[in-house]
């Protein structure tokens, strides 16, 4: 039940849900949250691989996940700052209205 393959299947499910959120939604806030979901699914896969294959080796999987969480925090901060700048100019959080650079 609590096996490596089930953990990886859970990670795959969360990743697929995140992909759906990024592609099918037009609200930039929800798209950013879906990106966080996808990063989190990758973190789960890394931790379970580390636990399964190196239960007494080094902590490569967990260290990598710590760094990935730092990257996720930085990504959220920059993404939300871009959203603020965008909202100030366009009064909307609709990614479908982003067409200024379209040729």
């Amino acid at each position: 039940m609590f096996t490596l393959s089930n953990c990886l299947i859970l990670a795959a499910a969360l990743f697929s849900i995140g992909v759906y959120g990024v592609v099918a939604r037009r609200n930039i806030l929800i798209m950013l949250m879906s990106v966080e979901l996808m990063l989190n699914a990758a973190n789960l896969a890394l931790v379970s691989f580390g636990r399964y294959y190196w239960p007494r080796g080094d902590h490569a999987g967990q260290v990598f996940v710590m760094l990935a969480i730092a990257v996720a925090a930085a990504e959220a901060a920059v993404g939300l700052a871009i959203l603020l700048a965008y909202f100030r100019n366009r009064e909307s959080a609709d990614s479908g209205a982003m067409g200024l650079l379209k040729g």
Binding site: M1, F2, T3, L4, S5, N6, C7, I9, L10, A13, F15, S16, I17, G18, V19, Y20, G21, V23, A24, R25, R26, N27, L29, I30, M33, S34, E36, L37, N40, L44, V47, S48, R51, Y52, P55, R56, H59, V63, M66, L67, I69, A70, V71, A72, A73, A74, A76, A77, V78, L80, A81, L83, L84, A85, E91, S92, A93, D94, S95, G96
Partner: protein, 170 residues
Amino acid sequence: MTIVDILFLLAAIASVVGAVQVVSQRNPVYSALGLIASLVSMAIIFLLLHAPFLAVIQVAVYAGAIVVLFLFVIMLLNLKPEDLGKDPDPPVRRRVALGSLALFILLGINLARAGLGAQPFAEEQVDPTYGSTAAVGEALMTGYVLPFEVTSILVIVAIVGAVVMAKRKL
């Protein structure tokens, strides 16, 4: 089924339900609440995987800082219903859902073919200190000190970038 299996099953169901809430809710506040549910249940799974330090970091940084940042921005923007973004039509969304379902099935088939870890995690092989704060901290400060320092540069760049992007006048 042991107690660990039951906990894993409950946490897995809760995280998937939370994730579905994130992508299906119209109001971003409800999406943020679903994200908290998903992240906290993921922290429970981290605990079961002998990663207590990561579980605490997950709750403190993800559910504590990132989601609160999202909620701050949601309240700062104070979006009206018509500003929330026009989602694609239901047929298009159904096709995207089928596509992500196909992605999930493809990943599942490949995982089954790879034959990774069908047997449960071996509890007796685990080092008692595995995943503890001391062990992870020592790994961060010895073998992985270069990635750690590079991440600190990345965080500084992100802070400067966020301040510059959110400033009223450049």
